[in-house]
Symmetry: C2
Subunit: 360 residues, 2 copies
């Protein structure tokens, strides 16, 4: 078993394959750690900056053995890691952070909202849906329009359908693949916010200032952080984040997506048990960025300072927006981050840019 | 031949092996580049964060072929790269930046000071020394005490001996290994400064604010940047840096070490044709850090903004000073950088910490 805090020179294992893993590797290397990435995809963005890379499905027993053999702690960049992978790692006495509870409580949207309500985080009204004929009664209770989503997987707006009237039920259920679903009341929010928070092995909690997010076609487009008027919502956001972190006995960074309602209250939309796209502004705008913060937490180090140093706007570069790299690179005050993905596809997250504003 | 600017996804080759290569790799990966490291040492700090690593002597023909085959441009982290390596790469039509002139004018201290004086950079008086019996006459001309150094190699105070009187000549020459040498007048400086500067493929020049350096036993210990009173010396420092960059037809980042004299004038002590330890403060204290700046320059990108955002103090962690990592990690406003070197040895550069002060 590993002894914490892990000394520099230890190896951080990552169930990875994408840009979040890549940025975790970059942060780990700054602190003197090696990284080992297990990814199903060859030439993955994170594998190309890691000391060790293993290309295999997440559930491949030999690959998990190899990862556990070189890693002093194992984390993940992706909340849909199969539970089987974590169970196998646990059976090998590998230390995984955040633990399997972070996934078991957040991979299924009904379980997640039930958990959130139990620990005192307000959410929209919701109902589990197992067949189309359950939708009308649920809609009656929740109110129309409501959003039908698959219970598992689906992100960036995929696997969702609006139900505006009982008659929509027959079409909506097959539209999301006829899978076990959740029907969620529409939140009449005035803006979307998120809070990125971390919890250390000693239970210490650190919250970044709340950011304001703009989505486009279900995909995050812009984050402004700290959000305008963030001080008014920060106490509630932090209280929610702390309840989630403690309720999951969490170690690491997570993102809590919030709806800001017209009356000033907040609802939790969802929890991402990992570093989060809406926290990318911290790389250039905060004293310690979310990637380093996650590495610190899982390695048992003291948490870093989550204070914002600048008003920052983070813009995702989706698909061919990344072709503007040369223009962005010439823009004063813009910090460009590209993920090393070969092929540009519509909506694919190719990179992001942090634009620094006023010093705080 | 490569077309510039190199698009993201291109590969930056590095003749490396140490922490400067590691930090170049980190910066390159943020911009979406892959890196390929050639190093004589297995388990080198930079090879562990690179997409490709080749372990072989710098002059190994097959290794250089392999590096050239995967790299769109090749750079180095070390000014004592054998000229033979660069000549072989040139024969393969590999693009190397900065070019071989950067090394041929700076690897030999007599050639370097001759070059500096020719392009209008003031230095201390000096004389080439090929045998002990040339020392007394040179000392007579230069004035005692004077510093005898090997013409080539030697860094961090190694390969140096003071000559205080003609009688010291017989002992000093063998003390530095009896190699071709330079005798340099002592500079009665009031402080040591340095300027980090970059030149792009288009001839654009960007200079960081001058930093003030404190050495301990010949090894850099602290850099404060911008140096107190930096505005008074910045024009002269920038003029010197520009003369060096243009005189070498340089592409990339270099460090110019300066002596600040009592009358407010500056002398150039030496030029390091690479990213420089006294520029590490830029990672957390400047708008674009020196490592990203170097990658931008060699890739033909627009140069980044060299503006200082914070008063920053950089402290090298030498030898067992790195054992304080846990204390430093808990210090608010301190940004820790560790190099992933396994073995702590006295004086070995294990990492550094940037402490942020007032926002600028």
């Amino acid at each position: 078993m590993s002894a914490f805090p892990l000394p520099p020179g230890s190896t951080i294992g990552i169930l990875g394959g994408g840009q979040l893993g890549r940025m975790l590797c970059q942060a780990a290397s700054r602190l003197g750690f090696d990284t080992a990435v297990l990814t199903p995809r060859p030439h993955a963005p994170d594998a190309r900056v890691a000391a060790h890379s293993i290309v295999a499905p997440y559930t491949d027993g030999d690959a998990l053995e190899a990862l556990a053999a070189v890693s002093d702690v194992i984390t993940f960049e992706f909340e849909n890691v199969p539970a089987e992978a974590l169970n196998r790692l646990a059976a090998m006495d590998a230390v995984v952070a955040p633990g399997s509870r972070a996934l078991s409580e957040t991979q299924d949207r009904v379980v997640e909202k039930t958990f959130l309500n139990r620990v005192g985080c307000a959410t929209v009204a919701f109902a589990p849906i197992d067949s189309a004929d359950q939708i009308p009664a649920a809609l009656e209770r929740i109110g129309a329009p409501a959003l039908l989503k698959t219970r598992r997987e689906g992100y960036d707006g995929k696997g969702q359908a609006w139900v505006r009237a009982p008659d929509d039920a027959a079409a909506a259920f097959p539209a999301i693949g006829g899978k076990p679903a959740i029907l969620e009341a529409r939140a009449d929010f005035v803006r979307e916010l998120s809070v990125i928070a971390a919890r250390g092995r000693d239970g210490q909690v650190a919250c970044y200032p709340v950011g304001e997010n703009r989505h486009d076609g279900g995909i995050l487009h812009l984050t402004r952080a700290p959000a305008p008027g963030w001080q008014a919502v920060q106490p509630q956001a932090e209280a929610f984040a702390r309840r989630v972190l403690e309720g999951l006995d969490y170690v690491g960074v997570l993102g809590v997506e919030l709806f800001a309602m017209g009356d000033g209250s907040l609802l939790v939309n969802e929890v991402a048990p990992r570093v989060h796209n809406s926290g990318h502004w911290t790389q250039d705008g905060a004293a310690c960025d979310q990637f380093e913060q996650h590495i610190r937490a899982v390695a048992g180090w003291p948490l870093g300072d989550p204070r914002a140093l600048f008003e920052t706007e983070m813009q995702n570069l989706l698909g061919d927006e990344a072709e503007a790299w040369e223009t962005i690179a010439a823009e004063p005050g813009a910090r460009l981050h590209l993920y090393g993905k070969g092929e540009i596809r519509p909506g694919r997250k190719m990179g992001h840019v942090n634009r620094l504003g006023r010093a705080l």
